[in-house]
């Protein structure tokens, strides 16, 4: 919020969008767990926003073993590393992350239908 007070209203601020994301509601370091439909009944789960300190490949390995699904770590130009899993693993993922103490429960945001 304080960032915004300094802004001159109306003046174009190239960083406003970025600042806004930091100060806006719900911009805590959420871990976003999403689901996407693929063809047919298939779907895909993505886990975005895990702390950078974590070894994504290790987490992925555990995911894969635990949920019996395949997956991969994708490098996104803006969002950094994102874990992709086959199937709708949203519940599994959030359960796992909480139990393993990787993320607090209220910092996991599950999206989708």
């Amino acid at each position: 919020m304080s960032d915004l007070d300094i802004q001159i209203p109306g003046a174009f601020d190239p960083f406003a969008e970025a600042n806004a994301e930091d100060s806006g509601a719900g911009s805590k370091d959420y871990v976003h767990v999403r689901v996407q439909q693929r063809n047919g009944r298939k779907s895909l789960t993505t886990v975005q926003g895990l702390k950078k300190e974590f070894n994504y490949n290790k987490i992925l390995k555990d995911f894969k073993k635990e949920f019996c699904c395949n997956g991969t770590v994708v490098q996104d130009p803006e969002l950094g590393q994102v874990i992709q899993l086959q199937g709708d693993q949203r519940k599994n993922v959030s359960q796992f992350l909480v139990q393993a103490g990787v993320v607090k429960k209220d910092l996991i945001k599950i999206h989708g239908f």
């Binding site: 915004l4 719900g26 994708v74």
Partner: protein, 285 residues
């Protein structure tokens, strides 16, 4: 939706009817019922509306979050008793009609029962049992509705119709009453659409008839769940739960201001976040 509601209600009706004196009330003939009815009529009229609305209220029907608690929380409790009444009358009617022959037999019982029935404004009357919390709550709301309707939370309610969904081909879904719902929520279709598409993790657009066409197969309840979240996040006031709010953009931030209590909060931006490449392999990132 209505189907989902009924099983909820029915067991309650049975439960409550059994211990009370209302049960003998079932087989009564129409004439006798009329008397009782007149007494309850006023209650029922108001209540009928409420229950009607409840059935059409998509967003409150399934178990869930905020809007449930705000919109239906009170309603459900209020609803119980009145609906009971309705059910009994319906039962009474059908039974009386169907069992025309048995009516004579029943008459003996009726006369015994009648004395109690006519007085039984409350289910506990004529017994020594303790009042149940729900019953007392219902009583309070009845009184409140008679005297100060506005305190019973009976204000204008925002009723959301259930999402109507069609399949277009095998891979696309058409959200038919999308515009209607945007209007009910008083939100820009673009904003609602952005949220829906981000949550569904898909793409879509409005067609010529202002329907929302999205890629992928989705059931009405998928939309419902997301709309429910949308209402919680971008429509309902956190303080007073009123949906009478204005969403405005100030300094590139979205703020939600309540028209009822005047409180204001900032809301999260809609971000699609990471969208995985689905489909052709050639175009990988």
């Amino acid at each position: 939706m209505a189907e989902e509601e009924h099983p909820e209600v029915l067991p309650e009706v049975k439960e409550e009817a059994a211990p009370g004196e209302i049960h003998p009330f079932d087989p009564t003939k129409k004439k006798k019922k009329k008397k009782v009815r007149v007494a309850e009529e006023e209650d029922l009229e108001a209540v009928d509306k409420v229950t009607e609305k409840v059935d059409s209220l998509a967003l409150t029907s399934t178990a869930g979050d905020g809007i449930d608690s705000s919109f239906a929380g009170m309603k459900k409790k209020k609803k119980k008793k009145p609906v009971e009444g309705e059910f009994e009358e319906e039962n009474g009617e059908t039974i009386a009609e169907v069992n025309g022959g048995e009516a004579a037999e029943d008459e003996d019982e009726e006369e015994e029962a009648e004395g109690i029935v006519l007085e039984a404004r409350f289910p506990w009357e004529g017994t020594d049992r303790d009042y149940k919390y729900e019953e007392l709550l219902g009583r309070v709301f009845n009184i409140l509705r008679e005297n100060n309707p506005e305190l019973a939370g009976e204000k204008r309610r925002t009723i959301m119709r259930p999402p109507q969904v069609l399949r277009e081909g095998t891979k696309k879904t058409v959200f038919v009453n999308f515009m209607d719902l945007c209007k009910t929520m008083h939100r820009q279709p673009e904003h609602v659409m952005a949220f829906l598409l981000a949550e569904l993790g898909t793409s879509g657009s409005l067609d010529g008839q202002q329907r929302l066409v999205v890629k992928g197969r989705f059931a009405p309840k998928n939309f419902e769940g997301i709309l429910r979240r949308y209402v919680n996040e971008y429509v309902m006031c956190n303080g007073c739960k009123s949906p009478d709010t204005i969403l405005s953009k100030e300094n590139r931030l979205f703020f939600l201001r309540c028209e009822q209590c005047g409180c204001s909060r900032s809301v999260a931006q809609i971000k699609a976040g990471f969208v995985a490449r689905v489909g052709r392999r050639k175009t990988t990132t």
